[in-house]
């Protein structure tokens, strides 16, 4: 079963997204903050990470940078989720090493397409 690590600090979004992902047949691991995300990514080795960029303490960009710097987790595709509409956030996320991004509010169909593509790409590599 495809495993997705969802990093999201907002409880409602976390709950909602995880339930919807599960409905789509993904297995979902949840992290509340950056540190948890790093440790879960290392232990669980998910197939994909959905990363909220605005996280307390350590933001999503930093988490992604660390993930991409680690040999164990480098291969995991990261999709950034950001509520910021500004292009700078997008660029920041991409530059941190995210493989794709989507803006909140999430349009679930679009997001699941992106997840699907990322997974395909990963397989192709």
């Amino acid at each position: 079963m495809t495993k997705i690590l969802l990093v999201e600090d907002n409880e409602m979004n976390r709950d909602m997204l995880s339930r919807r992902l599960q409905r789509r047949g993904y297995s979902v691991v949840i992290a509340h903050d950056g540190e948890q995300a790093l440790s879960l990514a290392a232990t669980e080795i998910p197939d994909l990470i959905l990363m909220d960029i605005s996280l307390p303490v350590m933001d999503g960009c930093e988490v992604t940078r660390r993930l991409k710097a680690d040999k164990k987790t480098r291969h995991i595709p990261v999709i950034a989720l950001t509520a910021h509409a500004l292009v700078t956030d997008r660029v920041k996320a991409m530059n941190a090493g995210c493989d794709d991004y989507d803006t909140k509010p999430v349009e679930f169909i679009r997001l699941s397409d992106k997840i699907h593509n990322c997974l395909l790409e990963k397989k192709a590599r």
Binding site: M94, N95, T103, P105
Partner: protein, 694 residues
């Protein structure tokens, strides 16, 4: 020192002396000559008289041939010191008796025989010949010779006296002229002194004193007048100078005042900009804060909707749909606010593309169908036959019409809404006219005043009754302005409204000066799109299809795209345009990608520009060795390319502060390729999520 350079004083003395001396000499000489001539005449007469007397006295002696008597008579001449010789000649010319003042020596010039009577001057001597007669009978001839001693003595004396007089009068003349020359030279010297003083001390108050009313007097007058003029001007000049200094001081003060004011203005501007930035940040944060719960609302309702389709009742599904649509509405409103703040911050972009107007209208009508049906309105669409394609920002045109039509739907009940589209030409420009007419509640004249202003609805009660933020028309208005169009409204309260929008059929961005690919033999092969305020990416590929695709794709990312078909041209343009990034094909006729890459990396001007190889040749190590930043193999993975470009852009982006420079140019052949992206300012690319709404 030559005569001409003598001082006036000396000249005057000299002239006077010369003149008087010449006059004196001439007159003395004439007196002398006259006197000597008359004295000689007197001497002659005297000698002639003596000759007559002696001739008379010696006549008897001659008659009697008494030589001693004759000699005695002649000897009486001894008393006459000047008689040098006296000779009596017999009628046959023989010397009869003689007398010589110096007995011992006979004068050498003594004539040997008698001559004609009369007197004559022989050398220094005066000679008189006189006939000695007795009773009319000629007895002989008397010869008298005088050395004119008296005459020469007189001449000498005269000359001495003359000389003495000349000397005395010369001395007197010198004295007199020395005194009198001052009459002329004095004022001139004074004038000269005055002049020297003026020029030495620049003292224009000094005046020369006029002594006499002669020519020098007028000269001094003239000089004084001139001095007065100069003094006057000097005073005026000094006054003007002071005035100038005062004014300069005033100006300096004024300038410093203004500078201060300017500083204050700048400070105020800075504060205002800060406030504006704060507002923008606030709006961005707010939108984040609002989107987070919205995310949950929309997400949960969607999720529940999906679940409810399987299990729950139709009513529940409908309710969930309402929650979701309300959430989406709220999202749209937030987007509106954000849009408006972006417009205000000058960050709103235009993404021009060429599209079919009828297709766009059709799409809008389909989307709006529910809204039209809600109030049981009828929609009539009329497109003029000549309406075809237009070049504009389709998203914004769509939103303009959306806003107008949804307003029409909202404020019209059981009425008719019509859309008319036609094309016209004004001032050499093609315009598309969109008219949205409804039969709704209409707008009063007073309401019209604030119609296009932000946050102002025609009536606050409207907000309660019909909802809405009051931003729709303001945004519509701004969008129209952005595309250099215009919007107008006609309305009668209670009878309906008619909004007319004019948009140029070819929306242009203010050209700032196109950069063309020079010297390119095939113009269509070199596509040059340069807009200020944007970065340029250079695409080097010999395949026209690849150039076209790359130019569209890279253009969408918010860059200028410059495409060329050959390596040589690529190198040339790279130097000219300095792109932020270059994509390079390997297999090209002529100069291939490897050599282009080597040349670029060897060129200090170009070596820092990142190069992404885009090729079918699978030789990544060689590309990276030669200095390529990345290596992509065709067919190109667009997402990957976009990510790489974003990365390179960010490297630059971090060093660039946002400018308020208003845009923007586009040019040359870009429109041939259907789509042209341009943003108004900043380097922000559009966000699909924001611009797709409802």
């Amino acid at each position: 020192m030559s005569l001409q350079n003598l001082s006036i004083r000396r000249k005057l003395i000299l002239i006077t002396m010369l003149t008087s001396s010449i006059a004196l000499l001439l007159s003395s000489a004439s007196f002398l000559i006259y006197d000597l001539i008359s004295f000689r005449h007197l001497l002659t007469q005297d000698l002639t008289t003596q000759a007559e007397i002696i001739g008379y006295n010696s006549a008897a002696a001659m008659a009697f041939k008494d030589e001693p008597a004759a000699t005695a008579t002649l000897s009486a001449l001894m008393v006459k010191g000047d008689i040098v010789a006296a000779v009596l000649y017999s009628p046959d010319g023989q010397m009869f008796a003689q007398y010589f003042r110096n007995d011992k020596t006979l004068p050498a010039f003594l004539p040997s025989r008698s001559q004609e009577k009369g007197y004559r001057f022989e050398g220094r001597y005066l000679e008189v010949w006189h006939d000695v007669t007795l009773n009319g009978e000629r007895l002989g001839t008397l010869f008298l010779q005088s050395d004119m001693r008296q005459w020469s003595t007189r001449a000498k004396r005269y000359a001495s006296i003359c000389l003495v007089f000349v000397l005395i009068s010369g001395f007197l003349a010198f004295l007199v002229s020395s005194k009198l020359q001052k009459v002329i030279s004095g004022p001139i010297v004074h004038l000269e002194d005055t002049m020297r003083m003026v020029s030495a001390h620049k003292n224009y108050e000094v005046r020369a004193v006029k002594a006499y009313a002669d020519e020098i007097g007028s000269l001094i007058d003239g000089f004084n007048t001139m001095l007065s003029d100069i003094q006057h001007r000097d005073t005026a000049l000094r006054g003007a100078n002071e005035e100038l200094q005062t004014r300069t001081r005033e100006l300096e003060e004024e300038i410093s005042h203004r500078k201060q004011a300017q500083d204050e203005l700048l400070k105020a501007k800075y504060v205002a900009e800060e406030a504006s930035r704060a507002k923008s940040t606030f709006l961005a944060n707010m939108s984040h804060e609002l989107r987070t719960p919205l995310n949950a609302i929309i997400g949960y309702s969607e999720m529940l909707e999906e679940e409810a389709h399987d299990s729950a009742t139709v009513e529940t599904v409908q309710d969930l749909q309402k929650i979701r649509s309300a959430g989406k509405h709220l999202l749209a409103l937030i987007n509106d606010v954000l849009d408006l703040s972006k417009i205000e911050a000058g960050k709103m972009s235009l993404h021009l593309e060429t599209f079919d107007v009828s297709g766009m209208i059709e799409e809008i009508v389909t989307t709006l169908q529910p809204a039209i049906e809600k109030n049981r309105n009828t929609l009539r669409v009329h497109l003029a036959e000549d309406v075809g394609m237009m070049q504009a920002d389709i998203t914004k045109v769509r939103q303009i019409l959306f806003n107008l039509l949804s307003n029409a739907c909202k404020f019209t009940d059981h009425g008719t809404i019509s859309v008319d589209v036609d094309q016209s030409t004004e001032q050499g420009q093609d315009w598309l006219r969109f008219r949205v007419t409804d039969t709704g509640i209409g707008i009063s004249a007073k309401q019209k005043e604030n119609l296009f202003q932000e946050f102002v609805q025609a009536d606050t009660s409207i907000a309660r009754k019909y909802g809405g933020t009051g931003l729709g028309l303001a945004i519509t208005h701004r969008f129209v302005q952005l595309m250099k169009g215009r919007i107008g409204v006609e309305s009668q309260p209670g009878e309906g409204s008619s909004f007319t929008v004019h948009i140029p059929a070819q929306v242009k961005l203010e050209a700032v000066g196109p950069v063309q690919a020079e010297g390119d033999s095939d113009a269509s092969d070199a596509i040059v799109e340069v807009r200020t305020g944007r970065d340029t990416i250079l695409v080097i590929d010999d395949d026209a299809a690849v150039r076209e695709l790359m130019s569209r794709f890279v253009g969408k990312l918010g860059f200028n795209v410059l495409t060329v078909a050959s390596g040589e041209e690529g190198l040339r343009l790279a130097k000219q345009v300095r792109p932020v990034l270059i994509t390079l094909d390997v297999v090209m006729p002529g100069c291939d990608g490897w050599s282009v890459l080597s040349k670029m990396k060897a060129d200090s001007e170009l070596s820092k520009i990142p190069v992404i190889m885009v090729t079918i040749v699978d030789n990544e190590p060689r590309g990276l060795d030669l200095g390529a930043s990345n290596y992509l193999i065709k067919p190109v993975d667009r997402e990957r390319l976009a990510v790489l470009i974003e990365k390179h852009r960010l490297n630059r982006f971090t060093t660039i502060t946002r400018t308020n420079a208003v845009p923007v140019s586009r040019l040359s052949h870009g429109h041939k390729h259907g789509k042209v992206d341009v943003e108004v300012s900043g380097r922000e690319s559009h966000d699909k999520n924001l611009t797709s709404r409802r």
